[in-house]
């Protein structure tokens, strides 16, 4: 083949390629631009979402507190001495007496004690009792009672106590309410508003971090003191149930299906149905849970155990599918190495194949659990939207859950106050999810480094 004979067609070929190159590069650039645009759009959406939630929710973490000089006035608190153990008295009897005493303490008109303290804080303000009390949250009197029950020696003494301002006062002071609205549309009366403003100015009312958001349970009568502790524990119990049940079950069935099950119609059938299960709307699982766990097995309504079981059913397919694909991705050479040495099938799987899949299984588990944590619909169907004002001590006690709490607060009639509360609860839920993901990433990198 001589040079001259090949050069012409070759040159033509080169120019064709050159012409194409520009087009190819253009296509590549365009594709990259699409990608960047898509990511930017997604990021903007996420930024707006988070921005809105933070903007609305963060103020709810700070709440107005009223610092009052409380005088435990013997004139008002007219109760006998706290019963002391007598010789020859049975413990049951003592307890009965003490309960009776506590009941008497509860009957004390603590509001009068509070009112006296408010009068002392602003002696020159003309205001009637009801209006003065309207700036303090209604749980104030129980706080004083608890203080006294714990230490009856307070009688006759003056103590500085921080009481929560009422939801209405908090709203007013935060400027969530239009100050120009006429009296008829205001929640607080004019004197009460003036009092709140003045106490804030004098430093008697201060904004402090609302720790009770994490330590208190939900409350209807005293919305300002409502917290997430009950819902948080409920969610925690459900997560525990999900982890304890779904992980071993899911990983176990995935291992069996992938490594041991004979490949026949029956296993195909199971496989198809597991994939179907992953696509079933979550509310259907709620119906199933109500029918099976509550109606048939008579497990308690609104209990985290039932919620956990329902969420386990929901999470199982996710974990099974992810574990199976992780197992499938293990190179056959690893299995051959172990089998060739005389390891049994089980030894091969548990000593060599499974450890390689830990990162994948872990990620799947955390994603599954995070999904379960955020799930609301099925929980409504098993009664977890009931109002529960207690921290559940066991998974069998009534409880609510974080996402359900968000749902309940979102529907609360005190819109002004609970809008921020809802966002605050969302922040807590998101923080929990982020923490879960962080744990997943941490464990994953550690497992991967160990390899």
């Amino acid at each position: 083949m001589s040079d001259t004979s090949s050069s012409l067609p070759q040159q033509r070929q080169h120019s064709t390629i050159r012409a194409g190159i520009a087009k190819r590069h253009a296509r590549e650039r365009r594709f990259r631009a699409y990608g960047i645009a898509a990511i930017c759009a997604a990021l903007t959406a996420v930024a707006i979402l988070f921005g809105m939630i933070l903007y609305k929710g963060v103020p709810a973490f700070w709440q107005a507190n009223v610092e009052l000089e409380i005088f435990f006035d013997p004139e008002i608190i007219k109760v006998p001495e706290r019963p002391q153990p007598q010789p020859g008295q049975s413990p049951a009897e003592l307890e009965k007496q003490q309960l009776a005493w506590e009941r008497q303490v509860t009957m004390v008109n603590w509001n009068r004690v509070i009112k006296a303290a408010i009068r002392k804080a602003a002696p020159d303000v003309e205001i009637d009792t009801k209006q003065a009390l309207s700036i303090i949250e209604t749980n104030g009197r129980y706080e004083l009672r608890d203080m006294f029950v714990n230490d009856p020696g307070l009688l006759g003494q003056t103590v500085t106590v921080n009481l929560l301002a009422s939801a209405n006062a908090d709203n007013w002071l935060k400027g969530n309410i239009d100050r120009n609205l006429p009296d008829a549309q205001q929640q607080l009366s004019a004197p009460a508003r003036a009092l709140a403003d003045r106490l804030l100015e004098e430093g008697t009312i201060r904004f402090a971090f609302a720790w009770h958001l994490f330590t208190n349970v939900d409350s209807r009568s005293a919305p300002a003191s409502a917290g997430l502790a009950g819902a948080f524990m409920g969610s925690l119990y459900m997560m525990l149930v999900v982890i304890v049940l779904a992980v071993p079950l899911g990983v176990g069935s995935a291992i069996y299906l992938e490594e041991f099950a004979p490949k026949n119609r029956f296993t195909d059938f199971i496989e198809v149905n597991i994939n179907n299960l992953a696509a079933v709307p979550s509310i259907v699982f709620g119906l199933l849970g109500a029918a099976v766990f509550i109606n048939f097995f008579h497990l308690p309504l609104s209990a985290p155990i039932v919620g956990g079981l329902v969420l386990t059913l929901m999470t199982l397919p996710t974990i099974i599918i992810a574990t199976r694909s992780a197992l499938r991705a293990v190179p056959p050479s690893l299995r051959q190495a172990a089998l060739g040495l005389g390891a049994s099938k089980t030894q091969t799987v548990f000593h060599h194949v499974l450890p390689v899949t830990y990162p994948g299984v872990l990620t799947a588990t955390i994603i599954g659990v995070a999904q379960a944590l955020g799930e609301t619909a099925p929980l409504l169907l098993i009664g977890m939207n009931a109002f529960v004002a207690a921290v559940p001590g066991t998974p069998f006690e009534q409880s609510t859950a974080l996402p359900v709490q968000i749902f309940l607060w979102q529907g609360n009639e005190n819109r002004n106050f609970f809008e921020a509360r809802t966002s605050a609860a969302i922040i807590v839920l998101l923080a929990l999810m982020l923490a879960l993901n962080a744990i997943a990433i941490y464990l994953r990198t550690r497992l991967e480094r160990r390899k």
Binding site: P331, Q336, A337, A338, G340, L341, G342, S344, Q347
Partner: protein
């Protein structure tokens, strides 16, 4: 007349062959194999009329062969002729392949390994395997070697295990290179080192037979030379079967060679004879590079 005679002859032939199989099985002591320049070797593995199927497809047709003890036997042949498939019969690795089926007779020291009475775990402890691609476990070098002895319960103490690990690595000619990093991950070794590690891992359970499926195909010439040297040393104590695509390698390391084509055993004999004066033309053609 001639046809009838031929038919009779074939039938007789078959009867004789069957008889040979049957009697060999139960009565005759293991025969010896004569290879020039070598002591007569007893038969370690005997295969008779082995057929292997993958589903409907037959990959090995009626292969019979004797593998001598403490010698290197090379399997050669063009790609896809069934060398790996046949090799895998000796430690029943074909069991792990969906839809595969082996029939015929294979004996290790006179004991059938095809029937299910022999536990596959025991078989694989006696017949080790080294694969084409180095496949160390993603664990430490030490753990790689220690795994086999541990699962087979060959060690009583940590000291025993340490000793086995060192001995195996020394035999594989790897100890000096890795003695300072026994607890580093094995995947950090070079390809050649990994392959020698795999050989050490196979040796660690003290097998009688080592199967090697193209053990040098992923290695450079220097690493290949080291592995070949190693194979030559191992021959003293182990029966080795090696599949290779390199005629030179087969000639260098093996005492006997078996040539496969399209699932059939074409010819088998002393390596020197196969390479210098093969009886079958196809062998000649393959060795001289005319097909394959």
């Amino acid at each position: 007349m001639m046809n009838a005679l031929r038919e009779d002859l074939t039938q007789m032939n078959m009867v004789v062959r069957q008889l040979a199989v049957d009697t060999d099985l139960y009565t005759l002591p293991s025969t010896t194999i004569r290879t020039p320049d070598l002591e007569p070797q007893p038969v370690k593995i005997k295969a008779r009329n082995v057929n292997v199927f993958y589903g409907e497809k037959q990959a090995i047709h009626d292969v019979s062969i004797d593998i001598p003890e403490k010698a290197v036997t090379a399997f050669i042949g063009p790609s896809g002729c069934g060398k790996s498939t046949f090799l895998r019969c000796f430690n029943r690795m074909n069991d792990t392949i969906e839809g595969s089926r082996v029939d015929g007779l294979i004996e290790l020291d006179g004991r059938s390994i095809i029937d299910r009475s022999l536990d596959v775990v025991e078989l694989r402890a006696r017949v080790g395997m080294v694969f084409q691609k180095p496949n160390p476990f993603p664990k430490s070098i030490y753990e790689n070697i220690a795994y086999g002895p541990r699962i087979h319960g060959l060690v009583r103490s940590k000291a025993d295990l340490d000793e086995i690990v060192e001995r195996s690595l020394r035999k594989a000619g790897l100890f000096d290179e890795v003695k300072d990093r026994l607890h580093d991950t094995a995947t950090g070794l070079s390809g050649g080192q990994q392959q020698r590690l795999c050989i050490a891992r196979a040796i660690a359970v003290s097998p009688e037979v080592i199967l090697m499926d193209e053990p040098c195909s992923a290695l450079d010439p220097i690493a290949t030379a080291r592995v070949e040297e190693l194979i030559d040393e191992l021959r003293e104590n182990y029966t080795i079967i090696i599949v290779t695509h390199s005629m030179q390698q087969a000639a260098r390391v093996s005492q006997r060679t078996a040539m496969f084509h399209l699932g059939n055993l074409v010819e088998e004999g002393p390596t020197e004879k196969i390479f210098t004066s093969p009886e079958v033309k196809r062998t000649q053609d393959y060795i001289t590079g005319r097909f394959g």
